[in-house]
Each structure stands twice: as structure tokens, then as C-alpha cells.
Amino acid sequence: MPLIELEGVAKDFVVHRSAGLLRRDRITVQAVQDLTFSVERGTILGYIGPNGAGKSTTVKMLTGILVPTAGRVSVGGLVPWDERIALARRIGVMFGQRVQLWWDLPLVDSLELLRHMYRVPADRYRHTLASLREALELDPFMRTPVRQLSLGQRIRGELAAAMLHDPEILFLDEPTIGLDVVAKQRVREFLIRANRERGVTVMLTTHDLADIERLCSRILIIDHGRLIYDGDVNALKERYGTERVLVVDLEEPQGPLEVEGGRVIKVEGPRQWIAFERARTNAAQLAAAVATRANLRDLTVEEPEIDDVVRRIYLETRP
């Protein structure tokens, strides 16, 4: 039986907009419509889509924060909003943009309080904490008040807090947002380990394509509240995410370069944007080709933005 199941789930919000001095109009906004999917135990699921697509709304319905307007939801056999407390003991939740730890307290105190709140037995707590301290490298700041932590340290602390009670499922809303490359990599490695060693099922929302490539065995793409893609990452990349862009800065401005396997899509003074298919060539070959035709000063490779990928899928799936 799947661990997470949604069937025909919809969520409407009623918002009030002022219309004139005293009148207010009631407007119904459909955040999510007719959402049906299920997730097997052990999956790392990427849940992606542009801002306002309904990602957070879905996660909130799965974690018992919001009650759907229609449809059926089951998480670990529980109805989230009806059995909120029983569910809370079995899931870990982290919102990258919210602080769940106690702001004024040292990290270790926050973890200790959560241990009591989640009724984690003392010996299991010691054991779990020891492995989290090692995996997340918490030791240098265990006794620092949370308000003094850097974002990267705080996110590691938040992850420890979410994992303390050994949850079966981890829901992560933008876990790597605002982190530098090293910190992002650390978070990803931790999630992969948690999935492999403890069998934790992970569902994460993200805007970072690298998160998805390195982590997710399956992705769902949602746009305007509807599911528009369900599949594995490789298939997605083959279909949509194969085009990369090499940005080159030349010594002096010149007309669009003609290079094998590349296509200039934009020229701005000495800077040119060259799109290429990853299957046909690579950035190094392309750069070498450019260097034979002009004096190269600098270059960067742009990964496709997830929003671009989503837009392309959206254009294709639109009736």
C-alpha cells in the first residue's frame, strides 16, 4: 500500500478584495484542483512548479495544516487533519523559510524540548542525536543560541529537529533556499543518507534543479494547481532539460559566432549566449571551438531554470 495517497484533492481559498469604500467582494481562488497521485515508501519525491502553483498548499494538506475542500488524503494510513497529532509523531516537517527552533535558546535546548514534546525515550534520543550530530556536523554550534547561527547552521539544526523522533516521512518545503553551494551539498548528502540508511521517505518542494538531479528518484510538476508531469528525472531531462547555455565574454564585440553544435541566441556587446544540446556536445568542446574563432576572456554555463522547464512542459501539455 502506498505511503501517501491523494485522490481528487482540491483546495479553494476564499479571499476578500475591497471594491469601493465599504463593499468587499468574495473571490474563490482554486489553489489546487483534482490532484491524484500516490507515493511508495522509500521514495525521494521532488515536488516542483512555479511560485503560486500550489506546492505549499499540497504539503500543508498532507501534513494536517490545511483541510482540503474536496477529495481524499491518506498519509501513513491516517487522515492528516483529523488525526493531526498521531500523524505529527510519524512525520518530520521543515520549512526552509520558517524558524522552528526556539530563537533565544541554544540548539541543544531546543532539541531537548522537542525530545519531550515527541516523547522520544532517553536512550533512543542519545543514539539518534549522536548520529545526527555526526551527519550534520552540529558540534561546533550545539550550545549557540539559534538567533546567532548562520543560515546554513540553522538549517542543519532544523533538519536535526525534524529527524529527532525518527519520522517515516520527511516533508521539506524549500530546504536549500538561500544556502551557498557547500551548504546545499551538505543538506543533500544528509537527505540521501537518511533515505538510504533509515528508509525515510522524502517529499520536497524546490526551485533548484540541482536538488532534483542529485536527490529525486521521481518528480511531480504542478502548475496552476494541476499536476502536469509525473515521472523520473532522466525522462524529464531527456525531454525538456537538455539544452544548456554557454555564456562567453570576448575580448571585443563581434557578430554571432558560428560553432559546431551551438546556436547563438543573444548578443550583447562582447558577450554572447550560445545554446547547446547536452547530448550532442559539451561545454568544454564548445569553449574550445569558440577559442579558435575569437579571443575568449571569460565563460560560464547556465543550467536551465526549473521555471523554464515547467514552462516548456506547460506549453506542450496545454490542450
Binding site: N51, I65, I85, A88, V93, W102, H116, M117, Y118, P145
Partner: protein, 270 residues
């Protein structure tokens, strides 16, 4: 029962952690506590000013009003100590941080209540105790077991009534982000009115304080009983010992309103 014991011990741990954090800044804590003491003392000075002009306030002497004032203020001060941070609840809703409480294995009201604890609010408690000492010392109360019992139950009932009103009105925040002002009118406004004898107010205000927001049960009715005073309003004597029952009823209403409101929580953002 085990559930309750666990909640209490968790409450103690959460509050102890807060207090530890606050005591790291001892000077600031001392200044704030003294300030709270002095500011709240001004309320009582206002009453003394009134009495410097009139010998009686609606059949109440200065020491009798002091008792009334002390009971009302003590109830309010304890409530403020425990849940005064509910003032910030509309912001918690607006910023979407209430979400975090819904994903933890504890009641939401419990988590909101344990969300903060400002030790400096003890200043007001100290002030109220001082006035209570003065009143009990000055008044020649004819102590009987029932009067002692009524007095002993007055403050716990008062805390429950204030707390219930506070929780019930703060639920406005689930529907409108402008809830704070409306809520303050009930809580702080009610707390101010409860310090005075009910019979000096206009009839509609009395009805409002008596029935809708049960502030009259916080100090006015129990004080009448303890003082052996006839009610200037001539209301049934049973009301004078009804505070604990009213308090429990208020708590039931408040928790029902809370549950209803949480169910309609819309969260913030997409």
C-alpha cells in the same frame, strides 16, 4: 490523567527554558520588573485620587474598593503572566508561523500558551499583592469558612475567566489580520473595568460585563460575599458564589471557539 501530567511537565520545561533565557540579562530583567510594578501602581493611584474627592464610591469605602481592585488586578496579572503574549498572536497567524504548531504532536492552544513567558510581568503581581495586604489589613472582615473559600477561589476563577475571554476574542485573528485592536478592547478594557465596583456603571455596560463578558464575576460578586455586603444592585445572592462555575463555563466556551477557529485556519501564502 497521564496526558495531563505529561502536559504539565512539558509546560514546566518550556517555561523554565524561557526563564533561563531571560535571566541571562539580569539588569534588563530587574529594570523591566520594577517598571511593570510602578506603571501598574498608577492604576491604584487613580482610584485613590477619586477617593480624595469623594468619601464613597457607590456605597464602597476606599478599603473595600482596594479589595476589589486587588482581586481584579491579581487575576489579571497572573493571566498576563501566563498568556500575555497572546497579544502577538495575530502576527503569528499573519506570518504563517501557526503552521509550525499544527505539525507538532501537542494541542495548538497548549503550544500558543507555552510560546512565551515574560517573567517581568511579576511586577504587576507584586503590586496587586501589596494592595491586597493593605485591604485585608484595614477591613475588619468577619471570617467564616465560606468567605475564606470564596476568597481563595476568586483568583483562580478570575484567571480562568480572563484567560477564556482572551483566548475567545483572539480567535478573531483567524479571520481578520486587524484582530488585535478589537481583542484589546475586551481584554485590557475588561481588566480596567473589573477594578471598579460594578454598580457605578451604566446599565448597558453592567449587562455587558455581567453576562456577555463575565467580568463582574472576577471581583465584584466575590468581593460582595467576602465583605458581607448587600448588593447595591439587588441581584440574587447566589451570583456572589458562582464565579468558579462561571469560570468553567467560560473555559468550555473559549475552547469550543478555539477549536472551531483552528478548523477554519487558512494559513498564509500559496
Amino acid at each position: 490523567m497521564a496526558e495531563l501530567r505529561e502536559s504539565l511537565s512539558l509546560y514546566r520545561l518550556l517555561i523554565a527554558a524561557r526563564v533561563r533565557a531571560q535571566l541571562q540579562y539580569r539588569t534588563s530583567f530587574a529594570i523591566e520588573t520594577v517598571a511593570a510594578f510602578l506603571v501598574s501602581f498608577l492604576d491604584f493611584v487613580a482610584i485613590l485620587v477619586i477617593f480624595s474627592n469623594v468619601p464613597q464610591l457607590g456605597t464602597w469605602s476606599v478599603a473595600q474598593v482596594a479589595l476589589l481592585y486587588a482581586l481584579a488586578t491579581l487575576s489579571f496579572a497572573f493571566t498576563d503572566l501566563v498568556i500575555g503574549h497572546l497579544d502577538g498572536f495575530p502576527a503569528l497567524i499573519r506570518d504563517g508561523n501557526f503552521d509550525l504548531m499544527l505539525v507538532r504532536p501537542k494541542g495548538t492552544l497548549f503550544q500558543v500558551i507555552t510560546g512565551d513567558f515574560q517573567l517581568r510581568r511579576l511586577g504587576r503581581v507584586a503590586q496587586a499583592l501589596l494592595v491586597l495586604g493593605y485591604a485585608l489589613n484595614t477591613l475588619a472582615i468577619d471570617w467564616t469558612p465560606d468567605r475564606a473559600l470564596v476568597l481563595a477561589l476568586t483568583v483562580p476563577s478570575g484567571v480562568l475567566i480572563y484567560g477564556s475571554v482572551w483566548v475567545a476574542v483572539i480567535c478573531i485573528a483567524f479571520w481578520t489580520v486587524e484582530g488585535r485592536e478589537a481583542a484589546n478592547a475586551f481584554t485590557y478594557g475588561g481588566a480596567f473595568l473589573a477594578q471598579y465596583p460594578m454598580n457605578i456603571f451604566d446599565r448597558w455596560l453592567r449587562r455587558f460585563l455581567g453576562y456577555f463578558v463575565p467580568m463582574a464575576f472576577i471581583a465584584y460578586f466575590p468581593a460582595l460575599h467576602v465583605l458581607g455586603k448587600t448588593d447595591p444592585l439587588g441581584l440574587p445572592a447566589v451570583l456572589q458564589v458562582a464565579s468558579p462555575v462561571v469560570a468553567l463555563a467560560a473555559a468550555v466556551v473559549a475552547s469550543t471557539v478555539w477549536r472551531f477557529a483552528v478548523r477554519h485556519y487558512q494559513s498564509a501564502g500559496g
